[in-house]
Amino acid sequence: MLKSNSSSSSRIWLPAAIVLALFIFAPSYISAYRMELLTIFLANVVLAQSYRLMTTTGDWTLCHYILMGMGAYLTAILAKFYGVPFYLSIPLAAVGTVGVSFLMALPLSRTIGFAFFIGSFALGEFVRHVWEKMHFPFGGSRGLSSIPRPEIGQPGDWYFVDFNNYLDITNFYYLTLVFTVLALVLLYRLDTSRFGNVWKSIYADSELCESIGINVTRYRILIFCVAGFFASVAGSMLAYTWGAIDPDNFGMIEMVYLIIWVVVGGVKTYWGPLIGVFSMSLIFELTRPFDEYRPLIFGVILITSLVFMPGGLEVLIPRTTQFFKDLFGAKEVS
């Protein structure tokens, strides 16, 4: 909305286009197994970015994974029991998750800081137990399986896209990519809008916000719902990718990883979580041979980054751009 934002938005087009091109051409240089990882990675990107939105008001929730799970469950239920096509099930699940987010945000918006943190954990676990105990429609602790794949047309239609080939999920990957790009663009627009600035202002000084007529409670509930909406989109993508979900997919361990992504990447700029998810997913894959040491490795990474880089990896962005500027500036002179 303001000068500083618009000037930075023109500078991001080139890097963003390059990254997008890399993702578009990824199927041609990546193995089928890696394609699935990449699809899950895309869902994680949306999740991390929606969590970053949540943290702009300073409210670090412990139930964001539950909101994603809610999206996954609602999508699975709609697709499996009611045969709702993906282009309706994903938005409908998102709307349903917004409803759940709203109900959770009502009591949570009356708390701040530590109480908010613990309260969100308790409410999240409550929802997870509902999934675990209710056999219909959530399938109890065994969850829901054989979730139908998305469909576009029937074999023979000219617009038919095959999503049912489990050996080649390229088509499905592209579908996920479309939703990811959509979600990221919307989240970016939100971040630079007046809403984004109001949320950041609430973090900076909520009393001042009240005095200039911002209803802080309303805006904190709103951000919870909006973040829930995008978490739900990530959940829908996961439900379709996995084909089966159970309550353990959306537990505390996953929440901890989400926090690690966001903390290591940084939350001050839009780019922090993206860098965080990317670098941590890379390390996650590289440490596959040392599976049992992973919690240790990520614990060390979290502590190291908190001690030596409290702003997250994103603080490197201005330094790198400055470095290249100096480099090019020096060239012009010579």
Partner: protein, 255 residues
């Protein structure tokens, strides 16, 4: 129907009576000062009136509308806006961005248009008005400075600019010259006068600094031990025995 009236306003914190049945009437276009020794209950009074605390009893009316008991953001919406004793601002935003955010009540706040609309165009009018306000208060040269890099005096001026950005009818200033040097005080006094004289905004201020209050206010209300002690023009207050007693103590050797 008076412009702004406080009737028998009381605020108790448990057994402590911070404000006891305070009455206050402010005319439109007035600059009213509220003074009192340390711990007299000025700030509590201020916080109750601006909706940050709920009153124990009594009412506050603005243009015939009850505002006591209302949420502070609603009170701001009705046109009664406060500033803070501390330098309250959004440190990571520039001066212009701070004032633009403070235009919240005058801005388009629909989620759909924020995402799909033209963001630049939507804020054009707000940026223009914010620039005007910054110019009016003489902060032009700092317009693109980050708020956290401003001097204390300028930070406090920015606070007033942000309150003005909401287009209030009654501006409530909480110790506007606290912690300032004499130069900064003079600037702030000039600013407050200008706000009243040129924009017709009524001002209610709480202040410690006697010289500023005497020099600036049309009428002064004195509070001591949570109760209204006296009210009148600066001259009347200066010569009021009760006030002198409250500030200097009643001692035979003084008299």
């Amino acid at each position: 129907m008076s412009f702004f009236s406080v009737k028998k306003l009381s605020k108790h914190f448990g057994g402590l009576v911070a404000n006891n049945e305070i009455d206050l009437e402010v005319e439109k276009g007035e600059i009213r000062g509220v003074i009192g020794p340390n711990g007299a209950g000025k700030t509590t009074f201020f916080n109750v009136v601006s909706g940050f605390y709920q009153p124990t009893s009594g009412t506050v009316e603005f243009k015939g509308q009850m505002i006591s008991g209302k949420h502070s953001s609603e009170i701001s919406k009705l046109g009664v806006v406060r500033t803070f004793q501390r330098a309250a601002l959004f440190p990571d935003f520039t001066v212009l961005e701070n004032v633009v955010i403070a235009r919240h009540l005058r801005a388009n706040t629909s989620l759909v248009s924020a995402i799909f609309g033209n963001q630049k165009k939507a804020e054009e009018a707000n940026i223009e008005r914010a620039t005007e306000i910054i110019h009016f208060l003489g902060l032009d040269h700092e317009i693109n400075t980050l708020a956290l890099n401003l001097s204390h005096g300028h930070q406090r001026q920015l606070g007033v600019a942000m309150a003005l950005a909401t287009e209030p009818e009654l501006l409530m200033l909480d110790e506007p010259v606290a912690g300032m040097n004499s130069g900064e005080k003079a600037v702030m006094v000039g600013m407050i006068r200008k706000i009243r004289d040129e924009w017709g905004v009524t001002v209610l201020l709480v202040e410690h600094d006697m010289r500023t209050v005497m020099n600036l206010c049309d009428k002064i209300t004195v509070i001591d031990f949570g109760e209204k002690l006296a009210e009148g023009t600066p001259d009347e207050i200066k010569h009021n025995d009760k006030v002198i007693e409250a500030y200097l103590g009643a001692d035979d050797s003084v008299a």
